[in-house]
Amino acid sequence: MTAPARGGRGRVSSAWRKRLEIAFFVTPALALFALFVVWPIVTAVQLSVFRWKGFGPLTDFVGLRNYVTVLGDDVFVDSVVHNLIIVGGSIALQLPLGLALALLLNRRMWGQGLLRTIIFVPYVLAEVIAGVVWFQLLQPEYGVLDGLLGAVGLQAPEQGWLGDPDLALLTVLVVLTWKYLGLAVILFLAGLQGVPEELYEAAQLDGASWWQTQRKISVPLLGPTMRTWAFLSMIGSLQLFDMVWILTGGGPANSTTTMATYLINQGTRSQNFGIAGAASVILFVIALVMAVLYQQLVLSRDTRPDVVTVRRSRKKVTR
């Protein structure tokens, strides 16, 4: 630290002090960011233009061939489609369900705290543990779900919920909804706390029904919260890995692959680190483009100063 000028605890030193303070608090975060985010990205880009088996020097330069391979690989293209289906499906399922539950749980009633906890528990569970539990529940023949269906005389699918290529992605989507619905509900509940009580009172005086109040007051004022939640959901869906890896490993017949499972399959499993590098760069670009577009087109209206500001927590976009 540079010694402050003698007797100079005045303007000059306070400016310096401010800078030092900023540097002091920001440097550790920047260093970690550089080490664990920037450097891996740089290395992934570097790997993506080589053919590399995982050991020895990087010598086999192949230019953009890995990118051509990845983009020409049906499995990768399908996995992008699966990611997009999960992005859309998550929002389509969780938005109405989460909204409905949040509106219900916002009413004063018996056991409110308990119900809120129950809804939120799946989100707190580690994804791997939730995945293993669901994997066992969904087992064909011996799983709990098949047992319950059998008990009421219904026929479970022959190859099980995860073993049938036509059902597997849908099943994964349902499990993801179970897992992440709690987050939507909690965020929406928090958003509802920000709706001024006077508006409800005014609506009541005007003789609005509960239904009308929700439709005309709660839901519109929840807009910023919903848009932020959808953003988080979208980024999470693009990066989806753990749940798919445990439930299906990308199978059956590649019907549930995501970009992240493609990465692992090509990288550590097949030692095609160059192809995995190229795929990771493509995943990064797709996530970045979607995030920027969403920020510009949807979220920008919330960040204009005249709109009610909503606390926003930004999840990191990069991996």
Binding site: W39, P40, T43, G54, F55, P57, G160, L162, T268
Partner: protein
């Protein structure tokens, strides 16, 4: 526990971060390596193995102590779970840092070993281990690159059908042939189905257990030399590969597998393919010599099921391959390029009569040293020895043989075949494309 699980780690880090971070994993281990690198006279060597449980681990501790007592060379032993070991090895190789690479470690041979040799990571043992190699020469083919031996196989096992004797009897199958024809085998399937028993489990979710059907069909249809020549020239146009695919499709067409087999894992938990066999839910599974050990870990009492029997993969009428040939694989000790001479002595010691006999007595694997093959305690495992040593060649698991890059593409396509979404030609095409990309 030899080669207890081949499935990739259940939980892997996502994204490119994993590629980078993995380089750090190996850093903390193998303190002995630092002292030994670049020093031919070092008195400490590091050894990585995967017998990380119970009797096997204790035995290897003892072996290391005995070696130290005899030679004064201290062995720093690292016993690891199999998947952890593979990950750490890969990370150590990636680092390229001699201090992180163990002096003696497990190799699976084939294309994987060849890639390591290419990168200059492995020490040529041809001269320094000449005596040991001549003793186990039946098994060193898959560990030889350009006529030089780079690893000493200490356990070579076979893949075959492990079956439940009780369920077979209940289905009225009285005499089970040790090497059935495909007609006999399909007879078993029909009888088991008639008795409402699911004939087979397969962990197609992990891909390689399904791929074993195709590999074994290749061993039946393609003479050993044809396969080796195809790998050498990266040309898989020989029609025997298509025939092998047709045989595999024929077996799949019988619909003998457990429900949901496309996402069934190989060995993890009671609903995995091995678990279904161990708990008496299915009658058979195609698996390697590790199966009794795996099954023992999946039963309620932790004991190897007493009902386990074994027979070889069926033969086909007019097949192109030698019926005595088998498909299997094993584990070998490699010495890293930077290791001191004492590491070679230790690798030789691990293949000595004494160590191999102790290894066999504890059923840790199928020993390669001929003086030890009679020492196996487990009768079911002992059954495999005459088949293995019956004059045929043992083809290595083809994914290991072809290396991970081509092997991975092959396994992906065979898994699709099990889902009915790829045919014999598609599998050959996938291998051909991946092999050409490697050239």
């Amino acid at each position: 526990m030899m080669r207890k699980t081949r499935s990739a780690a259940l939980v892997a880090l996502g994204g490119s971060v994993a590629l980078i971070l993995s380089g750090c994993i190996g850093a903390g281990s193998g303190s002995g390596g630092e002292e030994t690198s670049q020093n031919a006279n070092a008195q400490e060597i590091s050894w990585w193995h995967n017998s990380n449980q119970g009797e096997g681990q204790a035995y290897y501790e003892q072996v290391a102590k005995d070696f130290e007592a005899d030679t004064g060379v201290k062995v720093d032993v690292q016993a690891m779970q199999h998947e952890d070991m593979l990950t750490k090895l890969q990370a150590a190789f990636q680092s390229g840092d001699d201090a992180q690479i163990p002096d003696v470690y497990m190799s699976r041979g084939g294309g994987e070993l060849a890639a390591e040799v290419d990168a200059g990571l492995v020490r040529d043992l041809t001269a320094d281990s000449a005596d040991t190699i001549s003793n186990i020469s039946n098994f060193t083919d898959q560990y030889t690159v350009d006529d030089k031996v780079y690893a000493l196989p200490y356990s070579i096992g076979l893949v075959g059908f492990w079956y439940n004797k009780d369920l077979f009897e209940a289905a009225g199958i009285s005499d089970v042939s040790p090497s059935p024809t495909i007609e006999e085998f399909e007879g078993y399937l029909d009888k088991l189905k008639d008795a409402d028993t699911t004939p087979l489990s397969v962990g197609a979710g992990d891909k390689w257990p399904a791929a074993h059907y195709w590999y074994y069909s290749v061993v039946r249809e393609c003479p050993f030399d044809v396969v080796e020549a195809a790998i050498e020239s990266a040309d898989y146009s020989d029609p025997c590969f298509i025939k092998a695919g047709e045989h595999t499709e024929e077996i799949i067409g019988q619909e003998p597998f457990n429900r949901g087999f496309l996402t069934t894992p190989a060995q993890s938990g009671p609903t995995s393919a091995s678990g279904l066999l161990a708990t008496g839910k299915v009658a058979m599974e195609l698996a390697g010599h590790w199966e009794p050990g795996v099954a023992g870990g999946l039963t309620e009492d932790g004991e190897v099921p007493s009902f386990l029997g074994w027979f070889a993969f069926p033969t086909f009428d007019g097949q192109g391959g030698d019926p005595a040939d088998q498909m299997g694989g094993g584990d070998a000790w490699s010495v890293s390029a930077s290791a001191p001479d004492a590491a070679v002595d230790f690798a030789n010691y691990l293949l000595s009569d004494e160590v191999q006999q102790g290894f066999a007595e504890r059923d840790m694997g199928l020993p390669t040293n001929p003086t030890a093959t009679g020492s196996l305690a487990n009768e079911t495992l002992a059954q495999l020895i005459p088949v293995r040593d019956g004059g045929g060649v043992t083809q290595l698991y083809l994914d290991t043989r072809l290396g991970q890059s081509v092997g991975g593409a092959m396994n992906d396509e065979i898994a699709l075949m099990f889902a009915g979404e790829a045919g014999p030609q598609d599998v050959v095409d996938a291998i051909q494309t991946a092999a050409e990309a490697e050239q």
